[in-house]
């Protein structure tokens, strides 16, 4: 995880993603794309282009896979790792 990344941003687990493209279609900013790479299950997974996320949560709510998408909002404070 890039620690200097700007909030908000979505985090997509490339191995859990099944490549259904619903998040790509639902993203109002068009900042999600389908990777040209395949994951371990043979799906072209969805990934974040790296900037432009507004934290609307569309990708989270439209994703049918419970743990594939996590969205960190603008005011998210990372839990301290001791």
């Amino acid at each position: 995880m890039n620690e200097n990344r700007e909030y908000p941003f979505p985090e997509i687990d490339p191995d859990i993603c099944k490549g259904c493209k619903l998040c790509v279609a639902s993203c109002p900013k068009g900042v999600l794309v389908i990777s040209e790479r395949l994951n371990s299950k043979g799906f072209h997974y969805s990934e974040y282009v790296g900037e432009g996320c507004i934290g609307c949560g569309n990708c989270f709510y439209t994703c049918p896979e419970p743990s594939a998408v996590t969205v960190y909002m603008k005011d998210y404070v990372p839990e301290e790792v001791s």
């Binding site: 490549g19 259904c20 493209k21 949560g57 709510y61 994703c63 049918p64 419970p66 594939a68 909002m73």
Partner: protein
């Protein structure tokens, strides 16, 4: 609702899907783009937000969501096809403070479970029903469902659904809305983001209703089945918009939960003595019969087996009843099935002083075999040293077991000699009494009037005679 700083897998889901077989315990079994996953997530999120994960019970149906119990971190039951509302009713009645969710698909709810959902809705049971409508039977490969659209091509309607032969799509929301009891009836869709958010609001309202015991909430969710429809996920959403919405308009047909008071149902009282009285078992404890301490078997595990119609079940019931009169603990477990139409039928009877655990006799110490298939099937499971009574009238071969005591009795023949083949069950009772020494035939005769309550005197006498004959035959030939 409080603002969330992070959207992640809700706590309503199990962290690692440990109940799911196979290696992939980190993901669902659903196809890419399946609507089930979206609705699961909305439900799990609501359960977490309302802090009711521990008091929720999800009833999984038959369909793709049959495995919903892999995922929800709640109490779970998976029930036969279409029966989720019936089971949800009992769960809700037995645990009035729980939040009961019935999760069903269109084949499950609108076809085989059509009546179940109507009756539960009509009673206003305290539950929330999520009805996932994807217009086909998805799990089995896309056959026509009650909700399949006019003209829609499925594997069982290759030329499109013809209303002349297949009828019209069932509009369950409209049907449920005809009933008086439901408090919330709505139809939402997963075909785009605004509607997913509306679905989210509906899910939360339905669950809130269940929490507040408002009664019956029905939420129909139009959902994609990309695999069943044979298209990609995003075109599948388009397909809902273009094809399903005209037939299944999105609207809240009823929302009276605000003005409805919480449903309070009388809690049934289960007093054991009262139940005995209601069932007419009050007199049983008054029996004066005493157990025979010299009985050959202190603990009987009996199988009675034969053709359907040979009085297999009634012999078993009679023996269990007699045993009860003597103060034993008894159980009777019938094995029904297609046997009622001429195959082999059997029942397990246990009679013992100790408390009975399982009532099926997997290792019987006694077998009454009334026909050859039964002898062949059950002979091998008798424990060594046990007893085998077999019906020589219908079985023309000797038992192969040498380590059990064998009693060859022409059971059907004895009954025929008495003039009525039907009394062979009581011949069995007599033979059993002689073999085990558990009962005395004269005492059994004193019980006949209660065993055959309401039957003509003639019948009672005939059966009495049958017991006596069975008893005497064994005593004369095997002692």
């Amino acid at each position: 609702m409080a603002h969330k700083t992070v959207l992640r897998k809700p706590k309503g889901f199990i962290d690692v899907y440990k109940h799911k077989p196979g290696a992939e315990k980190d993901r669902t079994h659903y196809c890419p783009g399946c609507g089930h996953g979206i609705l699961h997530k909305l439900i799990a999120e609501a359960l977490e937000d309302f802090d009711i994960v521990d008091k929720t019970i999800v009833i999984s149906p038959v369909g793709c969501s049959v495995f919903a119990y892999y995922y929800f971190h709640t109490g779970n039951l998976q029930v036969p096809h279409g029966r989720a509302p019936a089971v949800a009713t009992s769960v809700s009645r037995a645990n009035p403070d729980s939040v009961v969710i019935s999760y069903q698909g269109d084949g499950d709810l609108a076809a085989i479970g059509g009546n179940n959902i109507l009756q539960a809705a009509n009673r206003g049971e305290n539950m929330v029903v999520f009805f996932v409508n994807n217009a086909i039977y998805g799990m089995t490969g896309g056959q026509m469902a009650p909700t399949t659209l006019e003209g829609q091509i499925t594997t069982t309607t290759p030329y499109g659904r013809n209303v002349k032969t297949d009828g019209y799509p069932l509009q369950m929301c409209e049907i449920i809305n005809q009933l008086t009891a439901p408090v919330y009836v709505t139809r939402t869709s997963l075909h785009d983001m605004p509607n997913i958010r509306k679905t989210r609001a509906a899910v939360r309202k339905g669950i809130k209703n269940a929490m507040d015991k408002k009664g019956f909430s029905f939420i129909e969710v139009l959902s994609m089945c990309p695999s069943g429809w044979k298209m990609d996920s995003v075109p599948a959403q388009e397909w809902i918009k273009e094809n399903m919405l005209p037939r299944f308009p999105l609207s809240t047909l009823r929302d009276i939960s605000e003005d409805t008071p919480a449903v309070e149902r009388p809690v049934p009282v289960m007093d054991p003595d009262e139940v005995k009285n209601i069932l007419g078992y009050g007199a049983l404890s008054d029996s004066n019969l005493t157990k025979n301490p010299d009985a050959a078997f202190e603990k009987v595990a009996l199988r009675v087996a034969g053709f359907g119609g040979q009085g297999i079940m009634s012999a078993g019931i009679a023996l269990a009843n007699v045993g009860m009169e003597y103060g034993y603990n008894v159980s009777w477990l019938p094995s029904y099935g297609p046997e009622m139409r001429g195959g082999t039928a059997n029942c397990s009877v246990k009679i013992q002083s100790e408390t009975i655990g399982a009532s099926e006799c997997t290792e019987p110490n006694m077998l009454i075999a009334m026909n050859q298939p039964s002898l062949e099937k059950f002979e091998k499971i008798i424990v060594p040293g046990g007893a085998l009574i077999y019906n020589t009238t219908l079985i023309d071969r000797e038992p192969t077991r040498k380590d059990v005591k064998v009693y060859a009795v022409p059971i059907t023949g004895i009954a025929d000699d008495l003039g009525d083949t039907r009394v062979q069950s009581m011949v069995n009772v007599g033979a059993f009494a002689a073999v085990t020494g558990m009962f005395d035939p004269s005492e059994i005769e004193s019980l006949m009037s209660s065993l055959f309550e309401g039957k003509p005197e003639k019948v009672v006498k005939l059966n009495e005679k049958a017991v006596r004959k069975g008893y005497e035959y064994v005593k004369e030939n095997f002692s």
